[in-house]
Structures are given as C-alpha cells and as structure tokens.
C-alpha cells in the first residue's frame, strides 16, 4: 500500500513538474516583462511557485500546517536557519511568506537535471565551491531584499533529533549584521527520511520564530556567534 501511495505521489509530482515547464516560461516572461524582475529574481519566483504546487499536492498525502505568526513580515532580508530532516525540507519553503529566497546547497544538487539549471539561475549557492566570498554574497543578496536559507546541521538528520549546528550561519550573521529567522520543520522525517524510498504518514508543520539580531550578542566578543548559535538552536529545539 505504501508503495502504491508513493507511486501515486511521484506520478502527480512528476506530471505537475512537467506541466510547470510551459507555465514556468509564462511566469518568467511575466516577471521579466511586466514586473521588471532581474533574471535571478524571476527564477526564484518560479521556484517559489513550484514549492507552492508541491505544498498543494502534498496536502493530499500528509497534514501540512504553518505558523509564521511570530515573524514580523517587515523583518526584511535575513538568514533563515532551519533544521534539516528530509529532501523535502527545501520544498516546504514554498509555503513561506516570501519566495525571494536563496539557499546554500551541496554541489551534487546542482548536477540534478533541470533543478541544477534553475537553482544556478536563481542564484543558489554551491557550498562546495571554495571561491565563494560568503560575506560579499550575503551583502549583495540582502541589499536586494533576498534572504539566505542555511541548514546549519550541514546534512539531513539520520534520526528525528536535531543534530549539531555548525557555526557558519552565525559567523555570517555577526559579520554582516544580518538578523536570523529561526525555522523549525517537523514531520518531514516521517514523510521521507534520508534512507527511505517510500513516503510515510506524516504531520508536517513549519514554524518560524521572532528574528534574532546579532547586535544582542556583540557584547560576547569572539564568542558572539557561539552564543547566538546556542540561543537559536535552543529556540528551534525546545519550541
């Protein structure tokens, strides 16, 4: 039964993806010609709408709820820090209150057909590229009101437990004075964990919290990013 369910889900998702090609061209044209978006912004819009379609389809297979009430919508560009349990965590951002998002992504994802092309065009950052200047890149993104998604665990958790957070996101936040929006994603582990091929029954919930500002941690000097990391992790873990 679970394989039948997975096959049906995959069938619908693949067809929706295929249908998005002509629709994507329309969105691209609309963004570029009517809205006067830059090329990368137009591709981010396409990714956002694709995410919304994913959320719509997934709601037939799992409970999917969101709570963004604690994040003021006028927070502006930020580093979005989220826990990571599943391949689909990134898709959940289709339900987020902004689609002007870029993510730090591992190099192999850029090799996936079509996805890689679109992500490159949208300005997603290849974490395996040693030539990236993260500070400059983030400053450029935030100057255009674009937020950066980072999964500080580095890879998908192999258990439901939130893993160790690495410091990169928090060092960047302190150095560029960019706020962090903590996001907790629950249930995607039950839906599709890293070592399973079939989807499971799940109750997916995406929650965002109040922004955390680097100015509140500067007083800790060299360990400011560590204190910030600890605070953000605690917020995500114990909410």
């Amino acid at each position: 039964m679970k394989y039948l369910r997975t096959a049906l889900y995959a069938f619908i998702l693949i067809n929706a993806t295929l249908a998005l090609y002509p629709f994507g061209i329309f969105i691209y044209g609309w963004c570029r010609l009517i809205k006067k978006y830059k090329e990368d912004e137009a591709y981010r819009k396409i990714i956002g709408i694709y995410g919304l379609i994913w959320v719509f389809i997934t709601r037939f297979f799992a409970d999917f709820t969101t709570d963004f009430s604690r994040t003021p919508k006028n927070t502006g560009a930020a580093i979005i820090v989220a826990n990571h349990q599943s391949f689909f965590d990134m898709y959940c951002f289709g339900a987020f209150f902004t689609h002007n998002l870029v993510a730090l992504v591992k190099g192999w994802v850029f090799k996936v057909l079509v996805y890689g092309f679109v992500m490159r065009k949208a300005g997603y950052i290849n974490i395996d590229n040693p030539d990236i200047n993260y500070e400059n890149t983030l400053r450029e993104l935030t100057s255009r009101n674009t937020s950066l998604i980072i999964f500080p665990e580095g890879s998908r958790s192999s258990t439901k437990k939130i893993g160790r957070f690495h410091s990169g996101a928090f060092i960047l936040s302190i150095k560029t004075n960019t706020p962090i929006i903590p996001v907790r994603i629950d249930g995607t582990f039950d839906f599709l964990p890293r070592d399973r091929k079939s989807i499971g029954k799940a109750s997916i919930k995406m929650t965002s919290f109040q922004p955390v500002y680097p100015a509140d941690f500067i007083k800790y000097g060299d360990s400011a990013h560590l204190k910030m990391k600890s605070y953000v992790k605690n917020l995500i873990e114990n909410s």
């Binding site: 893993g163 690495h166 410091s167 990169g168 360990s223 560590l226």
Partner: protein
C-alpha cells in the same frame, strides 16, 4: 589543576559546545575523522578553550598541528606551564 581535572574540563567543554557524546572523547580520537570537525570548528575550539581556561591561544602555530584529543591535552598542559590557569 592536575591533568585529570584538565582533561575533564576539556571534554566537558567539547561535549557542551560541539555536542559530542562523552563516549567518543578518548585520547586517540581524531578531530577531523572521528569527531567530525571542520575548519570553522577549529576556530570555535580555540574560542571555547580560551574561555574555559582563561588563556590566550590566538593563532599559536602549534594549534594547527593538533590532530587528536591527546595532542590537545598536551597543548593545554603546555599552555598551563607558561600561563596561569
């Protein structure tokens, strides 16, 4: 402070900051291979140890040669001889 107390404090600081299971903290454990440290973690390690022991490590070239926990214990012990712990 004797050596066993120093080791206990190092291990406690590593467990707390880097969420490493205490069972993995044996002297032969390699930072990169066994404990999963990357270059940013190495910087954090310096900060954590400076705070824990109230010492100055900064860009001491010896820290770059540390591969195992035993190396780190020896390094901290050496610092103890030159600085007041």
């Amino acid at each position: 402070m004797d050596k066993s107390e120093m080791i206990e404090r190092v291990n406690k600081a590593l467990s707390a900051e880097f969420e490493i299971e205490p069972s993995k903290l044996n002297p032969d454990a390699k930072f990169k291979e066994d404990l999963g440290f990357d270059s940013l973690d190495a910087v954090d390690l310096v900060i954590v140890l400076e705070e824990e022991f109230n010492i100055k490590i900064g860009k001491d070239p010896v820290i770059m040669q540390i591969k195992t926990l035993a190396d780190l214990y020896a390094f901290i012990e050496g610092k103890a001889l030159t600085q007041t712990l």
